[in-house]
């Protein structure tokens, strides 16, 4: 599976990221708005103060008199504990107040540094007739910004709190949104993975419209799989049947003919023909088995199997054939050999192994079948006294259609061990081919997890 990223994570990241950006914007907007308001309110007070002072300036007998109202400065003290500076000037001449206060040409409010601290200044002016000519009287009132800074600090804390609350709520909503977006996917996935191996019905779980194409594609795929599976099984069964039936006819005819002909060379030819037919028939049968094994290993139907019972049954079935060659079975089986596996496959594999042993055993020999429990494994050993495996190609014997070179006249397809090996692998077991340690012969060891 090629997994790249996660919809849930991406959704979460995008939603939480957007929430963080929005919270930051909210914080900045709130702060700048509040700052503007605070500065405006300070300006308003300064403006009122400056205007009141300007109003108190008059000309008496050609002399400029400034009678600063007490409230003009006291009102600034009511708003905050900030330091207050003022200046009254006539043209360029400073009449009274703080002479070194920063100046501005226009009537305006501005921020400057004075005696090491930032101050907010407001300047207002008007013209007064002095000795016949109009002269500009300007009043500047200034205040430090400690109160403003303190107020802004409080506002910032509030803004941060609001931003954090917004972010927290948005994050909770993001988790909820991401979860609910991914939920239909999980529901469908769970519904599909809960199914048994043979369940190839279409998915009918309700899905949102965005998932409809995926579900349709999945359903179409399941249908195709179902069709092709049943077609393949049918085809193999049909093929094997079609091959075996005419072969059986040919074999019967050959047997009949064998009884009628007396000429030795013809009899040999017919015997060879019967042998070839047997081989073909057997191959067809095993091909069918192999195809069946291949399909079943994809979808193992596991159940508890008692290997002892299975072996007993197979040995009983093989006994008549073995008797023909005076071959004796020696069984040693332990009772607690239960494995989890597919009955048909295991039966097939074990049949192939024991059938092989019977097939390759010479007359009047012994086949030893041992079933025992070794720790977490159940081990089956089948040993015969036949020609054994050739040491140099022992590993290749489990390949398809591979046969030993020492098989002689024995009929075989080269599929028996392949089938056994594939079944064992599908059950997480191992199949080991060795030479019989007690004398000559082959030894097949099969171990399966108990």
């Amino acid at each position: 599976m090629n997994i790249q990223g996660s919809i849930y994570r991406r959704l979460m990241l995008q939603l939480v990221g957007s929430a963080a950006i929005l919270a930051a914007i909210l914080f900045l907007l709130f702060q700048s708005f509040a700052r503007q308001l605070a500065v405006e309110s300070q300006d308003t007070t300064l403006q009122a103060s400056a205007s009141a002072i300007l109003e108190s300036v008059s000309v008496q007998q050609g002399q400029v008199v400034a009678d600063i109202p007490y409230a003009a400065l006291a009102m600034l003290g009511n708003v905050s504990d900030d330091r207050v500076f003022y200046q009254i000037s006539l043209g360029t001449e400073v009449l009274t107040g703080y002479e070194d206060l920063p100046r501005s040409l226009d009537d305006t409010s501005w921020t400057a540094k004075y005696r090491g601290d930032p101050i907010r200044l407001v300047k207002v002016s008007r013209s007064l007739p002095i000795n016949g000519s109009l002269t500009t009287i300007a009043v500047t009132v200034a205040q430090t910004q400690d109160g403003l800074a303190q107020k802004l600090g409080e506002i910032s804390r509030t803004a941060i709190l609001i931003g954090l609350i917004f972010f927290a709520v948005a994050t909770i909503l993001a988790v909820w949104a991401a979860r609910s977006s991914v939920r239909p996917l999980n529901i469908v996935a769970a519904a599909v993975s809960r199914r048994g191996p043979a369940d190839l019905r279409p998915v009918t779980t309700p899905v949102p419209s965005e998932m409809a194409p995926l579900t349709q594609a999945l359903n179409a795929f399941i249908a195709r799989l179902d069709r092709s599976l049943s077609q393949s099984e049918d085809f193999i069964a049909e093929a094997a049947h079609r091959v075996r039936t005419p072969l059986a006819t040919v074999r019967a005819q050959a047997e009949v003919t064998l009884r009628r002909v007396d000429k030795e060379e013809n009899r040999v030819a017919l015997k060879q023909m019967i042998r070839a037919v047997d081989e073909s028939s057997r191959a067809a049968g095993q091909l069918l088995d192999h195809a069946m094994v291949a399909f079943r290993t994809d979808h193992l139907e596991r159940s508890k199997l008692d290997l002892r019972a299975i072996i007993k049954e197979i040995v009983e079935r093989q006994t008549p054939i073995a008797d023909l060659k005076d071959i004796e079975f020696v069984q040693t089986t332990a009772p607690d050999c239960i494995v989890l596996g597919d009955t048909i496959l295991i039966q097939n594999a074990l049949t192939n192994i024991i059938d092989n042993a019977v097939k390759y055993s010479p007359h009047e020999t012994v086949i030893t079948v041992t079933l025992e429990r070794k720790g977490a494994e159940v081990v089956l050993t089948v040993a015969d006294q036949g020609p054994g495996f050739e040491a140099d190609n022992i590993d290749a014997l489990t390949d398809r259609f591979a046969r030993g070179t020492n098989v002689g006249q024995t009929v075989g397809s080269g599929l028996g061990l392949t089938i056994a090996n594939e079944v064992v692998k599908a059950h997480n077991g191992t199949l080991t081919l060795t030479q019989n340690t007690k004398g000559s012969g082959a030894c097949v060891t099969l171990s399966l997890p108990a």
Partner: protein
């Protein structure tokens, strides 16, 4: 006495300074590790017990106490850059201007919770006593007479017997006394009766004084009969004169001055200054009932106090006052 405290009076003779310091007193202790330098308008004798108490709690600190007038304090700090750690003054306006113009430093006192809101400004100026301006009368002269309780009653009395009180009234010369100027300007803000009274006093050839103590002295001797805007605390402190004077808090309104202290920006002994300020505030506000008489008009700390310090405003006020006094 557990601590060897020497109080030695040193007359200020240095020629390097243009401001005149009335007296400098050293309160030294043996083994002191630092010296706290205080400049104050309060008479040394009045303040000595406070310093003694402070040194009992903090025996490692020497105190140099310099008594000066409020304007001298202003000159010393603003123009001369004189080295002091704490400035104590009855002139709230000048103290406010010092703080406003950046000569004071903020101080976070552990006792700030004791100090009422109106008792501090910018965490720099701290009030430690409330002292009303009173009218002090000669007890003998008012024997068997109705005592005036308000300014209006005083005006009526003066008008009814001008010949009796001519030359027998005293008040601050606001041109030279910072506290007198503060009381007068605050009076002028409060009521028109101030100007009527001032004019009347002018007509009756009022005697002008620099200080409350001189007025109290003269009232007690009978040199004058009535003294207007005298610091009540000074008058009350003169137990020896209690039989000779009557102290009146005017019932129409009594201006209440807050005596304040501030730590100067250039203080070299900040730790000692902080300890002293804490001591001052805890002593002052621990058990002091906050005076709430209906007639008491407390002068609020704040930038409003800068208004009458304005050059033009002062010029105008003094002009008006002079024309009322010198007719």
């Amino acid at each position: 006495m557990r601590y060897f405290i020497t109080a030695c009076l040193i007359l200020w003779t240095s020629m390097a300074h243009t401001y005149e310091i009335e007296a400098q007193t050293e309160f030294s202790v043996e083994g002191a590790t630092s010296t706290l330098s205080i400049i104050s308008t309060t008479d040394t004798a009045v303040f000595a017990p406070v310093i003694a108490n402070f040194q009992v709690a903090n025996p490692q600190i020497n105190v140099t106490y310099t008594a000066a007038s409020s304007s001298q304090i202003n000159t010393a700090i603003v123009e001369e850059n004189a080295q002091f750690d704490i400035a104590i003054s009855s002139a709230m306006d000048l103290q406010t201007k010092l703080a406003n113009d950046g000569y004071a430093q903020a101080f976070d006192s552990g006792f700030i919770a004791l100090v009422p809101d109106w008792g501090t400004w910018r965490n720099s100026i701290f009030a430690f006593s409330q002292e009303p301006a009173t009218i002090v009368l000669n007890r003998a002269a008012f024997e068997g007479q109705k005592i005036p309780q308000t300014r209006a009653e005083l005006i009526t009395l003066l008008r009814s017997q001008p010949e009796k009180y001519e030359g027998r009234i005293g008040t601050y010369d606001v041109r030279t006394s910072g506290l007198g100027y503060l009381f007068a300007t605050q009076d002028s803000r409060t009521s028109e009766t101030f100007w009527r009274l001032t004019e009347l006093m002018g007509q009756l050839k009022v005697k002008l004084y620099c200080c409350s103590s001189d007025m109290i002295e003269d009232v007690s001797t009978g040199e004058i009969t009535i003294a207007y805007n005298v610091l009540g605390s000074y008058a009350a402190a003169r137990d020896d004169l209690a039989e000779k004077i009557i102290i009146i808090e005017p019932q129409d309104y009594a201006t209440v001055m807050l005596r304040t202290a501030l730590i100067l920006k250039d203080s070299k002994a900040q730790r000692a200054a902080g300890l002293f300020m804490d001591h001052l505030l805890s002593e002052a506000w621990n058990d002091q009932p906050i005076n709430q008489g209906q007639n008491l008009r407390r002068i609020p700390l704040g930038p409003g106090l800068l208004v009458f310090l304005d050059r033009l405003k002062r010029q105008q006020f003094l002009q008006e006052w002079s024309s009322a006094i010198f007719q």
